[in-house]
Structures are given as structure tokens and as C-alpha cells.
């Protein structure tokens, strides 16, 4: 009898079943549509696990996944480790060869701040509004890092929104890009940037880390690891470390990140009207950030004869390299011989830096 009473089956509620449906939907999207599968698959499974009654996997001080979440995310360890791997995978060459494109990464943060303002206006607290706004940066680890610090109860919804919109970049961005540009603008062929030396590439992560951390100290955990990973790569003398950061370490922490984030989405914390608002506001932030990058590129064109194709401005959101590929694709639809990918990688990488700075400013002013 005691065994039967201890069965989770008797504690299943409609809310839990609904959460299973959400978890299974994410797994379905990851497996069949390959929407951000590296994240949505473990997140979906984490949601299932968190909503199995009496399993207590997220029970504080006790549950297995709670330990992953507590030490990995609450302690702020996993997102910087993800950034170490991303840094080791990133080539700053496109940005170094055309430094002016860095501003497009700043322009694409407009959505973050406008959405922050709106979210506060419709009733979210300042900390919650900042966490929702950062979704517009389309940077999963930064969203999780900021949510864990400012609004842990929104972490699951914000992370899923961020990763979902990153997966939907090819669907969300093109209509906005076409709406804000003329056919002639989409056909603009950009001048090739200069070649970048190996020495510049080695100096960049060292100096950029120092400069950015001196300006926004709260961005240090993410920025330091990002630039360290890049220094591994560009130094060319620590291939083993570069390989580990790019592959094994990144894969390991991605598993813990995904399962932990999914497990924060218990029925009682997720099935609230707040979650629906978060998804709508996150989408709005992302769309506005896309528009911000495109419009800033057009504004820059008003002051220079060396024209920028405004489509590369949309890559200022930090969904790397998806947003850059979308710029290439939309550009090629206007002119098949126009190759924008390498130009778009510049703002794309700048977008990562811009989102980290935006998160650092939120932390500085709100923590």
C-alpha cells in the first residue's frame, strides 16, 4: 500500500500533462525540424523531468538536476564556460578588417532597451523587464546569465524564448529586412576589407577584454571567458586547449545547461500569463533589434561614400552564424552575385559583444 501511495502516477495533474506536452513539443522540433537541437533537446527533456511528480529532481539541496542548476547556473559558471567555447570558435577577422561594422552590433541592441521599457510599462518589475529585454539580443547564454542574477523565476521562459527565436531567425528576420530596405539597397556590393595579420588577431582578445571589462566590469565573467577562448584559438600554441574549449568542454556544459534550464520550467512557475507576455515581448525585442541594425546601417550610409549593404545590419543580433547566413540569403535573392556572408559576420560577432555589454549595464544598474 505504501508503495502505491508513493507512486508519482497518482499525483499527475492536468498542468503537469500540459508541461509534458510542451517538453515533447520542444523535443519534436529539435528532432524533426532541427530547431537549435543542441539546446532544445535537453531543455525539452529537462521540462519532462521537472514535471514528473515526486521525482524531486529539482528539490533544493537534494535533487540531481537542482545541483546542476545551483552550481552551474545560479553560481554563474556554465554561461561563461559556453562563452569560452564560443570564443574559441570565433574568427574576429571580419570585424577587424572592417571596424565600422562594430556599430551595427550596437544598433541591434535597441530592441533590448525599448522592450525593457515596455515590459516595465505593462507591469513587470525592473529586474524582470531587463531579463525580458535581453532576449532581443538573441544570445542564449547571456540571457540565462542575466536571468539567473536578476529574475531566476523567469529563467526557463526567457531561455526557451531566446533559443526559439534564434532557431526562427530565417523566418522572423527576412520580412523585416525587406520591409526596411529598397531593392537598390539590397543590391549594394560592399568593398572588400583589408587583410588582417595574425598579430592583430592575437592582440585583439587581450586588449578588447581589458577595454570592455574596464568600461563595464559587470560583463567580466562572460567577456573574460569569450576573449580567453579566442586567445587560445588565435595564439596557435595551445591547440589542445582550443580543441577542448571548442568541442568537449562546450558539449559537456551544453548538456548541463539545457537540462537545468528545462528543469526550471515546472508547471507552477511556467503556466502563468507572464510566460505568454515573455514570449510576445521577446519576439518584439528580437524584431526591433533586427530593425535597429538595418536602420543604423542606412543611417551610416548617409554619411559615407563607402556604402554598407543594410542587410548586414540585421546580423547585428548575436545569433551566430544564423543571422549572417540570413543576410547572405536575402542579399542573394536581390543579386545572385552579391556575397554578403563575410561582411555580415562582422556585425554578427559585434552583436555578441554588444549583448554582453548590455547585460553588464543592466547588472551594474540593477543588482
Amino acid at each position: 500500500m505504501e508503495f502505491i501511495e508513493g507512486m508519482g502516477l497518482l499525483s499527475v495533474t492536468p498542468d503537469l500533462v500540459l508541461m509534458w506536452g510542451i517538453g515533447l513539443a520542444l523535443i519534436y522540433l529539435a528532432v524533426t525540424r532541427q530547431y537549435e537541437p543542441l539546446l532544445l533537446l535537453p531543455i525539452g527533456f529537462g521540462i519532462l523531468l521537472a514535471n514528473l511528480p515526486l521525482a524531486l529532481l529539482m528539490a533544493p539541496e537534494e535533487g540531481l538536476i537542482w545541483h546542476f542548476y545551483h552550481y552551474g547556473i545560479e553560481w554563474g559558471i556554465i554561461p561563461p564556460l559556453i562563452f569560452l567555447g564560443i570564443g574559441a570558435l570565433t574568427d574576429f577577422g571580419p570585424l577587424l578588417s572592417q571596424p565600422r561594422l562594430i556599430f551595427l552590433g550596437a544598433g541591434a541592441q535597441v530592441g533590448v532597451y525599448v522592450t525593457f521599457f515596455i515590459a516595465y510599462g505593462i507591469g513587470f518589475s525592473v529586474e524582470e523587464a531587463a531579463t525580458i529585454g535581453i532576449i532581443g539580443g538573441a544570445d542564449g547564454p547571456t540571457t540565462i546569465f542575466l536571468a539567473a542574477k536578476l529574475a531566476p523565476h523567469l529563467l526557463g521562459a526567457c531561455a526557451v524564448a531566446a533559443y526559439s527565436y534564434m532557431a526562427l531567425v530565417p523566418i522572423i528576420q527576412p520580412p523585416i529586412m525587406r520591409l526596411l530596405t529598397t531593392e537598390t539597397e539590397r543590391k549594394i556590393k560592399m568593398q572588400k576589407g583589408r587583410k588582417v595579420s595574425a598579430r592583430e588577431k592575437i592582440f585583439f582578445p587581450i586588449i578588447a577584454a581589458m577595454v570592455i571589462i574596464l568600461i563595464v566590469p559587470a560583463s567580466a565573467p562572460l567577456m573574460a571567458m569569450f576573449m580567453l577562448g579566442n586567445l587560445f584559438r588565435e595564439s596557435g600554441v595551445v591547440d589542445r586547449l582550443t580543441d577542448t574549449a571548442q568541442n568537449s568542454l562546450l558539449n559537456i556544459v551544453t548538456i548541463f545547461l539545457g537540462v537545468s534550464v528545462g528543469a526550471t520550467m515546472s508547471a507552477d512557475s511556467f503556466l502563468r500569463k507572464d510566460a505568454i507576455f515573455i514570449f510576445f515581448l521577446g519576439l518584439f525585442a528580437f524584431m526591433l533589434s533586427t530593425a535597429g541594425g538595418v536602420l543604423l546601417a542606412k543611417l551610416m550610409n548617409a554619411f559615407t561614400s563607402n556604402k554598407i549593404n543594410p542587410l548586414v545590419g540585421a546580423a547585428g543580433v548575436s545569433a551566430v552564424p544564423m543571422a549572417a547566413r540570413v543576410a547572405q540569403k536575402v542579399g542573394a535573392q536581390a543579386d545572385k552575385k552579391n556575397y554578403l556572408l563575410m561582411f555580415a559576420m562582422g556585425p554578427n560577432i559585434a552583436g555578441v559583444i554588444g549583448t554582453v555589454i548590455a547585460a553588464g549595464i543592466f547588472l551594474t544598474m540593477l543588482k
Binding site: 571596424p99 562594430i102 552590433g105 521599457f117 592583430e200 586588449i207 563595464v216
Partner: protein
């Protein structure tokens, strides 16, 4: 509300300022001796 406006304005200004400083850094890096390849200097 004052705090939100403060964060909003400081945030946008801060991101552009940060990127502006980084832009200058990139420009300075390009001017370092040996910062460009020989073939670029010849062009």
C-alpha cells in the same frame, strides 16, 4: 519610473560608448607596427 528611464538612456548610451571605444581600439590595432601584412602596405 525615473530609474527605468535612467537605465534605458544609460543603457543605450553605454552600449554605443562601449562599442565606440572598441572601434577606436580596432583602429589603433590596425596602426600597430606590423599590424598589416606587407602586401597590404604595398597596395
Amino acid at each position: 519610473m525615473a530609474q527605468v528611464l535612467d537605465v534605458f538612456l544609460n543603457g543605450i548610451a553605454g552600449v554605443f560608448a562601449g562599442m565606440g571605444v572598441l572601434y577606436l581600439t580596432l583602429k589603433l590595432l590596425a596602426m600597430l607596427p606590423g599590424g598589416r601584412r606587407k602586401e597590404d602596405q604595398q597596395q
